[in-house]
Amino acid sequence: MRDFKGKDLLRSFINSSAFLKSWVKLIRSANSIVKARVGDMGEAVTFSPYLCFKMDGDKRELNALNLIAKEIQALGNSVAIYRDGPFFDFIMGNQKAQLSNIWGVVDSKKRLVEHLNVVESLAELPECVKHIFICETRYEDIENKKLLVDQHQRLEALTPNLLIKYPEQVPTRSWIKTTKSIYPINLPLLQIKSGLDILLLDLPARAGQQPSVGTSYIYKALQREGVSSQTIDLDPVWYHKFHMHRLKDLGGEPMLSNGVSISEDAWGYNDRTWVDPRLWPYLIEYFQQDISELLNGISAANPKIVAFSVHARNEWITRHLARQLKKIKPEIIILVGGHSCYTEHFGKGAFPEYDYMLIGEADSTVGPIVREICDGYKPKNRPGVISIFDDKDFKYLPGPTPHNLDMLGGITFEVWGDKTNLLYQTYEGEQSTALPLTRGCVWSRCTFCAERFSFRTRSSSLYVDEIETVLATGRANEFNASDSDFGGRPEVLIELCEEIIRRDIKVRFTGQIRLNKNFDVNFFKLMKRAGLHSLNFGSDAFTENTIRLQQKGYSIETLIQNHRDCVVAGLTPVVNMVIGVPGESEKDIDETIELIVKRRDCFPIVNNINAALLVQNSVWWFEPEKYGIGFFGDKEDIYRKYYFGVPSRLWYSTGPYIDKAVRATRFKRILSSLEKADVGLASKEIYSNFNDMLGGVGHLDYRELSLDESLIKWHLSADDSKTKYSYYPETENKFTYIKFKNQVMRFDQSNAISRLLLDMGLSHWVTDEQKQKSKKYNYINIRSDV
């Protein structure tokens, strides 16, 4: 009884304006604290029409549908419905009677609707129509149509989001966590020109959101050749489509139809989704709508050549698209190049669907070969190119290597023009730009490394010019040199830093350089003054023995001195580790751990740990016997099958004996020791690599899976008829929803304040059961300026 009285008094106090004023005052006086408390108590949520309408006719969504119909009906003859996707059929199928008095429908396909007017475009709507209901549930579709409606000033766009007015009457699954993002943004539509000589495509998913360096160079080569070309980098467009759907429709990680989630950091460097061939059919299914749009667009535009930039993370879609194109347009020539085509052997295995493949750096080869094809020839036996038209006895000839990087210039902003900076940013609005200064590696001796090419550098002044050009577009001042050896010519790096300082350009940048005994504190201080914030020395070995085994070409003294000087200069050095190399001992592991732990003043961050890989083009690959490397099986057979590199389980080394198990054990020992000593482990890649080791897979194993016969058949049978991807999470009835003016907040019911509000009748359970039991809802309204 006493409790009841207490509640009654409290209820009357809370309902009074005095309560509201005191609460507002409290919030104003301790804004930050209150923010933190609100954050502790609950979270802001967003309405998702996509999750609200599964379109399977359950009672909850029909109720929501009825509310929409009522809202539209109330507008009578002044409203039309914008028809495109399946939601129109669903709403008309269930609410036809209620919608019989509206003006009609806008439908680009002009499908007839009983008793309603139908026009093809918004411009054809009569003056009496003032409102247009966008009949879509996906965020991206809604936003695209809103942009079209906004072009007609007299029209007001209505969307399923009008249900926000009725938070208690929509399915609880409709509420998703609000995440800060740059959306909505105006994504470009896919428009492929007709009559092209060549269409150049870059498909998802590159790591990082930056203008593509490789595509830039090929774009420029095609411009120089003067062929009719169009370059479309779909990577950033699909990136934003993915995140819009994730953040605005799903409120969580999208799930493939086999139950595997695509991580929220799918475009991150360490994500394995794209390189695991077992997932490729499911990825194709997930992106089917976009793939079909692209395929139809190419088919309609009918270019002579379709060119793809191929790398490990986009083989899944690029190969699929090439196969599909060959089915519907066999006359289109498929031309490929890119990272997966860095040698002819590698390229043939990584992308067997080619007509022409440009091997290695294609700046000098792409133009002439495209010109010949467009002139009606079928060129064959060309240096730097492999082709299905080559003579059977033709032995591949290396192509000309560009010697003058200054002539080639830098990245281009012309691919997306004025949309470049909009597209090349993360969903949180972060921008950075990869600007290569060099190509190749001046050292090229590290035994495990496959990035061993001739070293060339651009001039410092032209490089700094390019920085200024990029900044002039309004892009953020964060740069990275994605080179193998940014400092291959230290004098160029010094000039570059001095030039940045001289021109007083404010930038932040990072890069990878080799250790060098001639570097000193002053060198690093200069770099710091120029805007460098961190350096990766590629110092993969940390004992005298492993430095020698890996042929790193530095001493322990230089290793420590460079890192210490770097720290003294105010830079953050990061290190990588390669472990399990032939000849390495347990003592090396002990000494490595000891050095990193004891000298964490010099080695504050371990960026990555890799178990040794036996990859094509490495020193080990060419002379395995010299390094005590043996194979579980016939070497020639293994090399033939595993053209890309030998899977870890198939090779070992002696003196002392090291196989996959030993590599994994050493990896674990190092990782756990560094964790225990609280050494900075910066990258998720470390754990991804470790998981690969424990899980029995690695980069090479992923690639091995693409050789699996059953998977190949599966991929080849992948077609467009697969069911559309869908994702509707089960509702968890454990939240309380409270509407603050225009924002709905979600509170965990275990929260004490949430329970109190509930007891006071000031909020409500939004489960079906609760709804059925009670039809009375109250809301706390707080002034919008709070």
């Binding site: 000098s364 133009g367 002439p368 000839l397 290597t401 002539m407 090229s444 001739s454 020193v619 060419f622």
Partner: protein, 137 residues
């Protein structure tokens, strides 16, 4: 497109860089340079087995060329001489015309002038004409 091989001995040299810059000035992207002097550092030039690998690589570099530019300064030491003779032999075998350029005709090194700047228009024109004549047949 001019397909050119410039003789080299797997080392960068001022003369090589000068001639490459000069041809860049003349033809920009209108020529392709097959003479990549970089080689895998695991190959030792003095090792007979490795040298034969390098020979086959150089052969592959000369094969697509339609003009070999001979830099006679290479013959000043034994290493340069070996690779110069090899490349000229391949050119003869493949019947590829050779244009000998006495680099001293094009430089004023002794005066301490930067190489890239010291090829005047007259000398460039001479080089252009020579290349065009050979290409014309």
């Amino acid at each position: 497109m001019f397909e050119i091989f410039i003789t080299h001995d797997w080392r960068e040299s001022d003369n090589y860089n000068l001639i490459v810059k000069s041809i860049d000035q003349l033809f920009e992207f209108g020529w392709r340079n097959y003479s990549n002097f970089w080689h895998d550092p695991r190959l030792r030039i003095t090792n007979q087995g490795d040298a034969s690998i390098l020979e086959s690589i150089m052969h592959e570099q000369i094969l697509p060329a339609r003009l070999v530019i001979e830099l006679p300064h290479l013959s000043k030491d034994s290493r340069g001489k070996k690779w110069l003779e090899y490349s000229l032999a391949v050119a003869r075998e493949l019947e590829i015309p050779v244009l000998r350029i006495n680099i001293d005709d094009y430089t004023e090194k002794d005066k301490g002038v930067n190489y890239a700047e010291c090829i005047d228009e007259k000398k460039l024109e001479k080089l252009r004409k020579s290349i065009l004549e050979i290409y014309a047949g």
